[in-house]
């Protein structure tokens, strides 16, 4: 019996290629379907972890996923940025985009005001787009921390924007609107002494990324700051309604109530 030669029959070649492609594609699709819920949950937890961390609501490295989710759901309200304020959301696999993120005291009721707000900062880094959040204490107008949700910077160099050393540099920065040249934050450079309360040390060996972060922070902070602070004067139930997609109420010009002071301890439940 002659040996089977798969190349002799063109029909076999076509059928073989189609069957192989279909079989392997089906295997990948099956694996994807089997893990899609886990992947989506991971993406959600990762983002929630970053938000809980940027507000300093706990030590996220020590918290379980359940504790992170609980802290987020109890204390965070996320209001999508109005499209008129550069709001079109960035492409994110979990479907979330740019938002004003508000943090409340533990156990805060519907009338409570946010203790802190995180505004989006975003722009082109050394290689590609960087998306982040800058958390600001509503009462003191000092920066709490910064987090970078997505970037493509060089691991070990620009990629160190996600490390604690660089993020800690942002803690306590003055976040009141600046006078003079209008610079909100100096990243690197020679402004150490003159503007110590707005100065962030650049990453050694990653001047390009550091400069890029400074540039886009100074462009995006003023865009989102005023709307965020205005929303931060609203009670939680109104922010919850906006987070749920209800249209924003027109500005009534009323004097807002004082924000809840930022303290790390949760309120006692009665």
């Amino acid at each position: 019996m002659p040996r089977f030669d798969p190349d002799r029959n063109p029909f076999y070649v076509i059928v073989y290629a189609a069957v192989i492609s279909a079989a392997f594609t089906a295997a990948i699709v099956a694996l994807h379907v089997a893990t899609v819920d886990i992947v989506e949950r991971n993406a959600k937890v990762m983002e929630q972890k970053a938000v809980v961390d940027v507000f300093d609501l706990g030590d996220v490295e020590q918290m379980s996923d359940a504790e992170i989710i609980d802290a987020y759901e109890q204390r965070i309200v996320r209001v999508p940025v109005d499209p008129a304020e550069r709001g079109p959301a960035p492409t994110k696999k979990d479907g979330t985009g740019r938002a004003y993120v508000f943090a409340f005291q533990a156990g805060a009721g519907p009338d409570a005001r946010p203790m802190a707000v995180a505004i989006p900062i975003h722009g082109i880094g050394f290689w590609a787009n960087i998306e982040g959040l800058l958390a600001i204490d509503v009462e003191t107008r000092k920066a709490i921390s910064v987090t970078f949700l997505s970037h493509s910077e060089t691991p070990g160099l620009g990629g160190r924007i996600t490390e604690a050393n660089f993020r800690n540099e942002w803690k306590g920065l003055d976040m009141t609107p600046p006078e003079g040249d209008g610079t909100w934050v100096y990243v690197g450079g020679t402004e150490t002494v003159a503007n110590a309360d707005r100065y962030v040390d650049a990453i050694s060996g990653a001047t390009g990324t550091s400069n890029a972060v400074g540039d886009f922070a100074n462009k995006t902070i003023p865009e989102y700051y005023a709307p965020a602070m205005k929303l931060a004067q609203m009670p939680r139930d109104q922010l919850d309604a906006m987070a749920a997609g209800e249209p924003r109420k027109p500005d009534t010009g009323e004097t807002p109530g004082p924000p809840t002071p930022l303290t790390p301890e949760p309120q006692e439940e009665n």
């Binding site: 089977f4 798969p6 190349d7 076999y12 070649v13 073989y16 290629a17 192989i20 492609s21 392997f24 295997a27 990948i28 694996l31 994807h32 893990t35 886990i38 992947v39 991971n42 993406a43 990762m46 493509s152 060089t154 691991p155 070990g156 160099l157 050694s204 060996g205």
Partner: protein, 220 residues
């Protein structure tokens, strides 16, 4: 021992693996897979994960291509091989995304590079498409190990000189002395640093291997 010709048929699994580890090492003898060697080797942990992914891809692709070798038409063999490699790399990507999300975030960009790694396709074309399953698996595994062996050497040098650490661990006095005043040897962290380190590693290892072979030839 003279170098084994790992592309010949009827090679034992052990000899096939050893040939890829040393005599025909993909990096310092064949100079293949250099792109990823430059990209990932500034951190030992990233390098280790990349190596694990490549060992998986070469081994499983070799197994599959070898199993299908008598049924795969020659005119579509490259397409089938690339499809098989892509499938195994996507399996790595999805598995890491689902079960190791923190690690995935660090090395996602590198995992995709495995598909284009010429070592994998090279071994499928040169060996697995012509040989039985067991030697093919050993050949693929050996090629992955040979690649990993050299890459880890490069990573040790780059991380040590670039960051003053190994696997991210502080080496006490050395790290403090090396990285004093927040100093880093930036060229070792950037991809061009890999050119220098890789060139030195290839030079040293080739020199050693050639000298050993010459001595073996002279002893006959």
């Amino acid at each position: 021992m003279p170098p084994a010709n790992s592309n010949q048929a009827e090679l034992s699994p052990g000899r096939a693996a050893i040939a890829q580890l040393w005599h025909e090492n993909p990096i310092f003898r064949q100079v293949l897979g250099i792109c990823s060697a430059l990209a990932v080797t500034n951190r030992m942990f990233n390098t280790l994960l990349m190596c694990g992914g490549l060992i998986w891809a070469t081994t499983m692709s070799s197994l599959t291509v070898s199993l299908l070798r008598n049924y795969t038409p020659q005119r579509v063999r490259i397409m089938v091989s690339v499809l098989i490699i892509a499938v195994y790399v996507i399996v790595v990507d999805i598995t890491m995304r689902a079960f190791f999300p923190d690690i995935h975030r660090d090395i996602a960009a590198y995992v995709g590079l495995i598909i284009t790694n010429c070592i994998v396709l090279g071994r499928l074309e040169a060996f697995a498409s012509k040989n039985p399953t067991l030697p093919s698996v050993a050949d693929g595994f050996g090629a992955g190990l040979g690649y990993s062996f050299v890459l880890m050497l490069v990573a040790v040098v780059r991380e040590l000189l670039g960051f003053g650490t190994l696997f991210g661990f502080d080496l006490g006095g050395f790290t403090g002395w090396w990285t004093g005043n927040n100093y880093q040897w930036v060229i070792m962290i950037m991809p061009p640093g890999a050119f220098f380190v890789l060139a030195v590693v290839v030079w040293v290892m080739r020199g050693y291997a050639l000298r050993k072979e010459a001595a073996a030839e002279g002893g006959k």
